[in-house]
């Protein structure tokens, strides 16, 4: 399919192009190119008329490739692909020359240059089209099975949604009961619904849902595979109580002699070694704490009182850990958060002073108090200290935990309501009442007499006689130094990543953001996705959130999973690496560069897992034998594009090639054009999937073919769809710079930058900087260029690398 009948369409774009570019001249130029059998111009190619013209021509003239020289592919590539498909042509034999955003708009003040560049762009597109292959979308079978890790409110919400929609859910929870942190809370802000009352029906729905398989007291041990085929191994720890026999009569509990601080009451009350986690636990069954039970720690026939006490013979000390294995199609990670360990902030004396407690302990005190079962006296004068473990670089947490301002406001309200004579203070850094109804709630709290003071105490002291807490603080609004003595100080501890998230992140190879929470695929448009296809995030595992946001994200994560699973087969763009098997010698050098582990050696040949590969192309530079290649952006195509882009270069002219990654740099260039900002018309942009796709070989070929400078624009690492790309790109650039320098060429002729799409000025500065530099530098002698083009491979794969090839 390497030769063909190419149809070229040059668009006026209602003057947007034709007022700057001589469209007729471009069309005349295109007519002269090999393989081009038809050239047309049109006022609006994207109009129905224009589209029909293309479709008719495909049928009538038997076109097998189409080049549309018009606007940026980000607007109408999809449009014309479907035109091709409807006309019976493979949609991937279409190329677009970007004559508007990357030519007529940025070069509007130099029409001559713009017309010359428009021809180059069209030529480049034709060169690529010549080598276009019909491609099929990748298709993979996919089922309707989901693993949800963590059964807090996020995991529960996602599981119920998926279960109701008919998907099979495996919900795995590490603790003996589902419910998570929300089960411990008193009321929710700003509406003050009882947390347990709104949560417990949802918890009860979980085992009642026929599509949900619930595994509590269980941990995910391993996950292998990929979208549509995740093989999961879960370790179900023994409960030592037969759940089928136990009727939760609590006789065993009464008999147990071992008392342990209760996790549910944050260590402030005691539970037994055999216990029910809390009154609305699901499953509502006993469990034996194996780290505390006398028989399980001391062995033999010790104790065993519960065995005698149980009227239903439900206690079973012979239970062993059980490994459960199953396969799912998608995974939702909802492992939640931990509260910041207040004891590490030594200045507040938590753990040392009896009258300093955490906010979660306060939640429990409020709940127990309302139940008529007060845990301890709370006193009349109570202070909340905000931002304990949040916005505090001393403890390494720069971020805001988002919920503490509001939960402190809520607790202050509940304390005030149960005893209006109480004096309640909230010492804050900034009061952030960001959500619906929050500001109103905060105002209400102020009106009920809660004193909000801006200031953070440096240290707390205990009055050795009364055990009251002495606080010296600057009210930073009135600039007064104040001194208080409080009956109780509550530390509004922030949220930190759950310790249980770490092993899951390692198993699934999920990346973390600088705050330690898991990284979403895109902060705006894919906040539930991860960079691993088919793995999603729900709730605070991704960052601090309140309950509504957590529930919202959990439902969204479920939808993102459904979006993939609700079809027989899953299709994606054919963008993926492949191997020219006849060239591969099985050296294995390409295996480790792939961050997704998509490449493996199968009977001494490199094999690319098409499901795992996302098509960044960063593996390609690693192959010394040109055996690796990328669909949609093949080695031959890029080489042909480079050649075409430089074909019109005359003596004393300068040309720089800009390789721009599809996600950011290419769109940024479009944005620059749209803003009518100008940059050197000596530049020409070639679209690549990522900066790492531009191999040293391609760069050297370009210099040999006449390029004066090469620029690679990639996505800024943290927002890139390929986070590893920038590092590979840098290595490739420095390889080329070294070779240039050895050949007597300025190494500064090859440059790169990591962009975000709003860096319009930065883009112009970078391109103009390189263009200026190349213009001023001494031209590269033809002899030197020629030498560069020879034995590129020998230069790139030096002795030491050859050795490693043999190994």
């Amino acid at each position: 399919m390497k030769t063909g009948k190419i149809g070229v369409y040059v668009c006026h774009c209602g003057g947007n192009i034709s007022e700057v570019v001589d469209v007729k001249a471009v069309a005349a130029f295109a007519e002269k190119q090999t393989d081009v059998v038809l050239v047309r111009t049109n006022e609006h190619m994207c109009s129905e008329l224009g589209q029909k013209q293309v479709a008719d021509d495909i049928k009538e003239h038997k076109l097998d490739k189409v080049v549309i020289a018009a606007c940026s592919p980000q607007f109408h590539e999809k449009t014309f692909r479907s035109v091709l498909a409807k006309a019976g042509l493979n949609p991937y034999v279409l190329e677009m020359a970007n004559l508007r955003e990357q030519c007529s708009w940025p070069h509007f003040d130099f029409p001559e240059f713009a017309t010359r560049k428009a021809k180059d762009l069209t030529d480049t597109a034709i060169a690529k089209a010549r080598l276009d292959e019909p491609l099929e979308k990748k298709t993979m079978p996919i089922g309707k099975r989901v693993l949800v890790i963590g059964a807090g409110i996020a995991g529960i919400q996602a599981s119920l949604g998926l279960g109701d929609a008919g998907f099979k859910v495996h919900l795995v929870e590490r603790e003996p009961s589902i419910g998570g942190k929300m089960a411990q809370l008193s009321r929710t802000f700003p509406t003050e619904d009882c947390s347990a009352c709104i949560l417990s029906p949802k918890m009860a729905d979980v085992p009642a849902n026929p599509n949900i398989t619930l595994l509590t007291n269980a941990e995910v041990e391993n996950i292998d595979g990929y979208l549509g085929n995740f093989e999961v191994s879960v370790l179900k720890k023994p409960r030592y109580v037969d759940m089928n026999k136990c009727v939760t009569c609590r006789s065993c509990e009464a008999s147990c002699p071992v008392k342990v601080p209760s996790e549910f009451d944050e260590g402030m009350t005691m539970r037994k070694a055999i216990y029910v986690p809390f009154d609305f636990a699901v499953p509502y069954k006993h469990i034996i704490d194996e780290s505390q039970c006398l028989r399980l720690t001391k062995g033999g026939k010790v104790c065993g009182l519960c065995v005698k006490a149980c009227p239903h013979d439900a206690i079973d000390f012979d239970q062993k850990p059980e490994r459960v294995k199953f396969t799912v199609d998608t995974v939702i990670v909802a492992t939640g958060y931990d509260t910041f360990d207040a004891a590490t902030k030594k200045v507040y004396g938590y753990g040392k002073f009896e009258n300093v407690v955490t906010a979660l302990q306060m939640e429990r005190m409020v709940v127990r108090g309302a139940e008529g079962n007060p845990i301890r006296k709370m006193g009349q004068k109570i202070a909340f200290i905000q931002c304990v473990g949040s916005r505090d670089e001393q403890v390494g947490n720069e971020y805001c935990s988002r919920i503490c301002c509001m939960y402190a406001t809520k607790l202050s309200q509940l304390l005030k309501r149960s005893d209006p004579s109480r004096d309640v203070y909230v010492f804050y850094t900034d009061l952030r009442a960001f959500g619906k109804g929050f500001e109103e709630y905060y105002k209400r709290a102020q009106n009920t007499g809660v004193k909000f003071l801006r200031g953070k105490p440096a240290e707390l002291f205990e009055n050795p006689d009364t055990k009251k807490i002495i606080m010296k603080i600057e009210d930073t609004l009135s600039r007064e130094i104040l001194e208080f003595e409080f009956d109780l100080v509550v530390l509004s501890t922030g949220l930190v990543p759950n310790k249980g998230t770490e092993p899951i992140a390692q198993i699934l190879k999920l990346s973390k953001s600088p705050d330690g929470f898991l990284q979403e695929a895109h902060p705006k448009f894919k906040p539930e996705d991860t960079l691993i296809e088919g793995v999603f995030l729900a709730g605070t595992v991704q960052g601090p959130k309140d309950i509504p946001d957590t529930v919202g994200q959990a439902s969204a994560a479920a939808l993102r999973a459904v979006r993939l699973m609700n079809q027989e087969a899953y299709t994606i763009d054919p963008l993926a690496a492949f191997v020219h098997e006849e060239a591969c010698d099985g050296c294995g050098l390409c295996v480790s560069p792939c961050p997704l582990n998509a490449i493996s050696l199968v009977s001494k040949l490199a094999k690319v897992n098409q499901t795992l590969c996302t098509g960044c192309g960063s593996c390609i530079a690693s192959c010394p034998r040109n055996a690796l290649d990328l669909q949609c952006y093949s080695n031959d195509q890029l080489a042909a594009q480079v050649k075409a882009a430089l074909a019109s270069k005359k003596k004393n002219e300068t040309r720089i090639l800009v390789f721009a990654d599809d996600m950011t740099a290419y769109r940024l260039a479009d944005n620059v054009g749209t803003a009518k900002m100008t940059y050197s018309a000596d530049s020409l942009i070639i679209r690549v999937p990522s900066g790492s796709r531009v191999t040293p070989k391609l760069m050297l070929q370009a210099f040999a073919a006449g390029a004066d400078g090469i620029f690679i624009g990639d996505s800024e690492q943290k927002s890139s769809p390929y986070p590893h790309s920038a590092a590979v790109m840098k290595e490739n650039v420095s390889t080329v710079a070294n070779i240039l320098s050895e050949s007597g060429i300025e190494p500064d002729r090859v440059r790169f930058f990591e962009f975000v799409t709003v860096m319009l000025g930065g883009f112009v500065k970078q391109i103009d900087g390189l263009a200026d530099y190349c213009k001023k530098a001494k031209p590269i002698p033809a002899q030197t260029r020629k030498a560069l083009g020879k034995d590129i491979n020998n230069r790139l794969f030096a002795e030491d690398r050859k050795e490693s090839i043999q190994v």
Binding site: K346, E459, F461, E462, D465
Partner: protein
């Protein structure tokens, strides 16, 4: 161990008791503190808005002396500079770090000091407490002949030994180095929650009242916690906490005076070095009655 030693102005005047007891105690432990020649002010002056570099010249000159001593063979490859006064320690370590991290600043200072050899940036300023910790408090305990028994000590740290974090010798929020030392000397440790609270420093000159209030809260909290004496390593803290007790008692009638020791005085006492090395007569609140009552000093001495 032979180590260059920088005394500073107070140690030759109001804080003789710190220097004398330190030299004697260190020598008992096999540390020979060699006073650096031609030392000048440690440089504890405020920086100017327009020139933040000038005040590092004085400390850097002192650091140059350490280089000289090594070159002249007075010490053998010992580029640590030992200090006793917390303020000197803080000022000089701050300067040493500043020029080590900012080569441009060092160049400027070297160019300015045209009659000195260039400072090469490799002197480490240390405090005696750090050297003791390095030796191991167990080992220091072995030198004790007169254990401090049930003397209830509240170690006071102040700010200069602890802050900023880059300079401090211990956890700025929860220091233990003093407690560890005095425990090795056999004393009973009392935790004073005000152990890091500012003594008022130079305000003692301009706003005596402020210092009186601060010193009062530090001392009375130590007393409430059950301490019989507090300790310091800083002549300025000592002045504010010790010399001001007369005025505190005038302002707060219920105030009970409390001896303030330099940490080195307690070492000299525990090592049995004799009163001439302890120099308790240099303290404002005489600690001798307390020590006699505890049988740590002989009656009539």
């Amino acid at each position: 161990m032979k180590i260059p030693y920088y005394p500073g102005c107070s140690l030759k005047t109001t804080a003789r008791n710190l220097e004398v007891s330190a030299l004697a105690s260190a020598s008992t432990l096999g540390i020979e503190m060699v006073e650096i020649p031609r030392w000048n002010c440690c440089g504890t002056v405020f920086s100017l808005t327009s020139d933040d570099l000038m005040h590092h010249v004085a400390p850097v000159r002192n650091l140059v002396r350490v280089q000289e001593m090594n070159r002249q063979g007075i010490v053998d490859n010992e580029y640590r500079l030992l200090t006793l006064c917390s303020m000197c320690f803080n000022t000089m370590k701050g300067s040493a770090l500043r020029v080590a991290d900012n080569p441009d600043d060092l160049d400027k200072i070297n160019n300015f000091m045209d009659r000195e050899e260039d400072y090469e940036g490799n002197v480490e300023v240390v405090h005696l407490m750090e050297i003791l910790r390095e030796m191991g408090f167990d080992k220091i305990g072995e030198a004790v002949t007169n254990p401090l028994g049930d003397l209830k000590i509240a170690p006071y740290y102040g700010c200069m030994l602890l802050r900023p974090k880059e300079i401090g010798i211990d956890d700025p929020e929860d220091p233990t180095i003093g407690a560890d030392l005095f425990r090795a000397l056999g004393a009973e440790i009392v935790d004073n929650p005000y152990k890091k609270v500012c003594c008022g420093a130079y305000h003692t000159v301009a706003d005596k009242n402020l210092v009186i209030d601060l010193a009062y809260s530090i001392l009375s909290q130590a007393d409430k916690a059950g301490a019989e004496a507090i300790t310091t390593s800083c002549p300025l803290c000592a002045f504010n906490l010790d010399a001001r007790q007369k005025e505190i008692a005038e302002k707060y009638p219920e105030f009970k005076t409390m001896p303030v020791f330099y940490f080195t005085q307690l070492m000299a006492l525990a090592f049995g070095l004799g009163e001439d090395k302890c120099m308790f007569e240099g303290n404002y609140v005489d600690p001798r009655p307390l020590l006699r009552a505890k049988a740590l000093l002989k009656e009539g001495s």
